[in-house]
Symmetry: C2
Subunit: 224 residues, 2 copies
DNA sequence: CTGTGTGAACCTTTTCACAGCG
DNA sequence: CGCTGTGAAAAGGTTCACACAG
């Protein structure tokens, strides 16, 4: 049965995708000293409509106060709990090319619940190279050992396209159950493994579609 | 009527987001010498269901042959036309940090319809530095001139978070109407400007949510 | 009087099922 | 037969509008 709906028993997928945005906004609000905030403020900070914010938060069995809003610290803790940010997640990064190195150096992961515990590359020439403080490139041969020894369940795939599927297979065999894939290819993975795709060229193509329509001579015959 | 400008008169948004995937798959199929392909093959190659593939292609007024499938070359041309890949789009990249440099060096843009015509950074120390063959970092002061002189309508924003909104404002003022934003902040832009957001840390947080549920003890064993 | 929480309406997207063409 | 194209149904998501709590 294909009924393994993405939602299962938890939060709606669309809501899950927005919780990180709320968390980010709440962290900022907290830094500014706000003790409470309204759904309108969260809407403003995240680009989501306020009705949508309220609906999302209501899924958490939310505890807003009518006439006042939400307690920033409390809501922050609530969301952190919901999306598993009470622990740090160990992540392995595969592929130390330009993109891999950029991701390894990105400070935004640590502050948002993920820790890159290893950077791996297939090229022996790169092994040993320091990518960032405390992280040196390791051999792809070590992949299985790294995943097992360092309790890794999430991988970032930043290899060349042609290697992506093979690496994904190895990751899954070694116990990884979530992959963030930057290679422009649809990975085949077994049920129970989550893949999220980041395809930058595709994003530009989507923007190009809209650009094309904007410069189209007259398609804009909406009510005048 | 609150004009929901998302669809207007063109293709459904969800379809537009998948056309680049089909295009990629068709290019590969063509390289292998296949003259035709079925919706099942495209489904396999893209991870989209075959019914969904057919529905998407039918929006293009598609020309498949029943019992046979689609003509690969023809469909490729059809999709390229629909998403504006008959021309190259000039793109400006702002921010030449780790990520900006990685994006500038990414070969996948050129082969998929976008050309980075300038890399710009606010740091005078970086100006003049060669990021890739034929591309040197230019000063952020040149931004307006670059956008106008090089017919740029799409920008990639890879600046630090705190600078993103200000840069976006300048981009819009200079005539940019599409932004691919890597800074983890919700940009405020006027109507008519499209923003697509890439938030890598948020992607990991979404994966973490699912990881948390997987390791959760309560699991309804319905698989059969 | 303010702003949450929520049923109901509305819209988008996906899936199903099958008629019909080659 | 195989595979497209497509109405119809189902699922998923967003917006509306307002009762109601503080």
């Amino acid at each position: 049965m294909t009924g393994a709906s993405t939602t299962d028993r938890g939060l709606p997928n669309a809501t899950v995708a927005r919780l990180p945005l709320y968390l980010r906004a709440l962290t900022q609000l907290r830094a500014t000293g706000s003790a409470t905030c309204s759904s309108d403020q969260l809407a403003e900070a995240t680009g989501v409509s306020s009705a949508n914010v309220r609906k999302d938060l209501s899924h958490l069995g939310s505890h807003g106060t009518r006439g006042v809003g939400y307690d920033v610290a409390h809501l922050q803790a609530e969301i952190a709990q919901a999306i598993g940010q009470t622990q740090e997640w160990n992540v392995v990064l595969i592929g130390a090319g330009h993109l891999g190195k950029a991701l390894a150096a990105y400070p935004g992961f640590a502050s948002r619940g993920s820790r890159i515990v290893a950077v791996v590359d297939a090229d022996p020439e790169r092994v040993g190279e320091r990518v960032v403080d405390g992280l040196a490139i390791e051999s792809a041969d070590e992949l299985d050992a790294i995943i097992r020894d360092r309790a890794v369940s999430i991988a970032i795939l930043a290899t060349p396209t042609h290697a992506a599927q093979e690496v994904a297979d190895r990751l899954v065999a070694a116990g990884v159950t979530s992959i963030l894939n930057f290679a422009p290819v649809a990975l085949r993975v077994p049920d129970g493994v989550d893949v999220r795709q980041v395809d930058v060229a595709a994003e530009l193509q989507i923007l190009a579609y809209h650009e094309q329509r904007k410069s189209s001579p007259r398609e804009e015959a909406v009510s005048g």
